[in-house]
Symmetry: C2
Subunit: 242 residues, 2 copies
């Protein structure tokens, strides 16, 4: 388990809908975050949330608290999430991309981080927010339209575990066909075109060059070149008239 | 609207649950992606999906197609999403971080990109996948446990619009208090401590230095220093005995 997933406590405050708690738990299970805390859930039966595919272990281990203060007491960094509409915020407000760095840094020095999400309808109250070191928001088109709770948690956890290096790492390229294989494809294709009457004898030289360049632009892989050769062989057999 | 949001068509193939289509539309509305296409939805009444807070315009504009080929016909890049379990894939498979770069590049040269999501239960079929240039997956803890459809779409669109620079950009720091303000806080705090009997006359010099350093470590902002001064003034008044 990555250290970031061990370090983070997802804290749901006043969540009304147990299905949403289930959706949150599922996202946590997907990204490997085990620690869920719920403050004043509207139904204590949330552990049975039906939508929680794969999320049963997270829900079973979830801890219930009576206040935000109690839920974050052992944490060294407390981060509140907000849709940040017009409300004047007295806290620093960072985009998720920036906040994730701060959270990873805290995890790297063995800190414990609470990530707070408010109720579906009202978000976090000013009282909840006063427990936070800073606030974070997911940049959306209209900040006044909040995100679905399960989606907001999924996006937040994804940002915590995403690997910037993966964006740059070239994937292993398919092994390309050799020049000899490309030339075999070229010659067979030309032969099929000749026998089909596609090639005008007067311009045959330039047609050959065009076909050769066309085949190179296809960038056939070592895997695909023999397949294409086999297709052309079969077509030549069907056309006949060698 | 960012060009990436204009360029992308979110294509849902064989989606069973209209609520999931609604959740997808909500994530699209959040991140500003207008173009939803659905292939063979199980219920044509999906446009009324109840969970679709803020998503009505996306749902109303959604286009319905009878096949994947028709849904992606005008696209210059077709990307399939997969949980990529054990199934042998004949396509290049990239992490989302990498795929997003390729999609942004295609959008930047005025291409149109289809991003395909399969049914909740079975994902995309091999036939669906054969229409794709490459496949992408969201890295999760257990690739055999798929993500919730709405959450997968939210994470994918977030990756497309996230700003790497935002992770590095230092936020505007709060204007710090001046040295004079810090010193005023220090002197008033010391006075309160003296009058309260906290300061031992024998070690008074070292206590003063300790308090001065403590106040500096608090990094009071220009906004907070007068507030703290006001508190100390009031406490000194209550203690009396100047």
């Amino acid at each position: 388990m990555p250290e970031i997933a061990e370090a983070v406590r997802v804290v749901l405050v006043d969540t009304r809908n147990p299905l949403n708690i289930g959706a949150v738990a599922r996202a946590m299970a997907n990204f490997g975050f085990p620690a869920l805390r719920v403050v004043n859930p509207y139904e204590l039966a949330f552990r049975e949330a039906r939508s929680a595919v794969d999320a049963a272990p997270v829900l079973e281990a979830a801890e219930v608290f009576g206040s935000v203060a109690a839920a974050v007491a052992d944490c060294t960094l407390v981060v509140g999430t907000t849709a940040a509409g017009g409300r004047a915020l007295e806290h620093p407000l960072h985009r998720l991309e920036y906040s994730a760095r701060a959270i990873r840094r805290e995890a790297a020095r063995a800190g414990t981080v609470a990530l707070l999400f408010g109720s579906e309808k009202f978000g976090l109250s000013n009282d909840d927010l006063s427990h936070c070191h800073f606030l974070t928001r997911i940049e959306t088109l209209h900040q006044e339209h909040s995100m679905n709770l399960g989606q907001a948690v999924a996006v937040s956890l994804y940002e915590l575990v995403r690997r910037p290096a993966a964006a740059r790492a070239r994937p292993e390229p398919a092994r390309p066909a050799t020049a000899a294989e490309n030339e075999q494809v070229t010659l067979r294709l030309l032969e099929a075109l000749r026998r089909s009457g596609y090639v005008n004898p007067i311009t045959e030289g330039s047609t050959e060059e065009k076909v050769r360049r066309l085949v190179r632009r296809m960038n056939l892989s070592a895997h695909d070149a023999p397949v294409v050769l086999g297709m052309l062989r079969q077509i030549l057999w069907k056309i006949g008239g060698a």
